[in-house]
Symmetry: C2
DNA sequence: GTTGCTGCAAATTTTTTGCAGTCGA
DNA sequence: TCGACTGCAAAAAATTTGCAGCAAC
């Protein structure tokens, strides 16, 4: 799915849920659908307000005020509650948010470089066998999972990044 | 390895690292080695101070003062830095800590019930095939991973817990 | 015109830091 | 004794809440 289509899908889901589409929300959705990696609240806030200037055209953000961090928190939580975004944690002390794939579709996980912090997505975790085994052994119904792989990316291993 | 042996192993590792063994540290190590699930800092703090009374024998904690949260934070971070403890995150907004298995030994992951919060350990994640595939495909060296499975435990599914 | 969304201020919660006194080795 | 460890106070950082005004529908 293209980024534009992803953006439309999320915007549509918001509308159909009875939620309003506002300047900050449009900007945040655009940001999230175009990001290559999960974003923190602070990052979203900075990115959305970046390049905003009272003197120029500020229609993109909907007004004179910069988007407040609180607004970002509230919207991020809303997206997560609606199942439109996912909250991930890379051991940094705060959460990161990224668009969630449509339910029943293929999801992805992350390869996180511990040296440069770069994040790469990967698909196909294939946890089904493990899940089946555990459900049989432990009397537990597995409904979701969190999987992150940490290590060193090629660039860092070659000393390109330090 | 028994819990007592685990406790001795960690205490020994501390000593051999040149760190001091104090009342709070003994109490926290005891707690961590006996816990069946990862503990938060607040939980450790409460548990260690529980039942302490200025009037009775307080040798177990080493003095009259209750163990401070800051001390727990500092010791937990020390254990993690030394590779003796692991920090996990169940999406609750704070970290939990648990003893780390000796390196190269078998490690474990968790089955977290989203209804009652109960945590069960499981061994054998068998991520080697996935890791190999990804290292070949992505030019990335995987060094560690984080895996948590969320779902519903048997008791909750049967309505025992609500 | 409603009602939800936003910004601002303030409160809460989690985690870290500075410092002086204390205790382990 | 000497320096690491601890408690206390305070700071820093992440996140939530209350409320009045504004804007989406």
């Amino acid at each position: 799915m293209s980024r534009a289509a992803e953006y439309d899908r999320l915007l549509c889901a918001l509308k159909q849920g009875g939620y309003r589409v506002t300047g900050p929300r449009r900007a945040l959705l655009r940001l999230l659908t175009e990001a290559r990696e999960p974003l923190s609240v602070q990052e979203m806030c900075s990115a959305v307000n970046d390049g905003r200037d009272p003197a120029e055209d500020v229609a993109a953000a909907g007004g004179d005020d910069a988007v407040n961090v609180v607004t970002v928190y509230r919207f991020a939580n809303l997206l997560v509650d609606l199942g439109l975004a996912r909250r991930v944690e890379f051991g940094q002390g705060y959460y990161r948010y990224e668009c969630e794939e449509p339910q029943d579709g293929p999801h992805h996980h992350h390869l996180v470089c511990r040296r440069c912090g770069r994040v790469e997505d990967f698909h196909g975790c294939d946890l089904a066998p493990l899940t089946s085994r555990l459900e049989a052994e432990h009397d537990f119904r597995v409904e979701s999972h969190q999987l992150e792989l940490y290590g060193t990316c090629g660039a860092c291993r070659e000393g390109v990044n330090g």
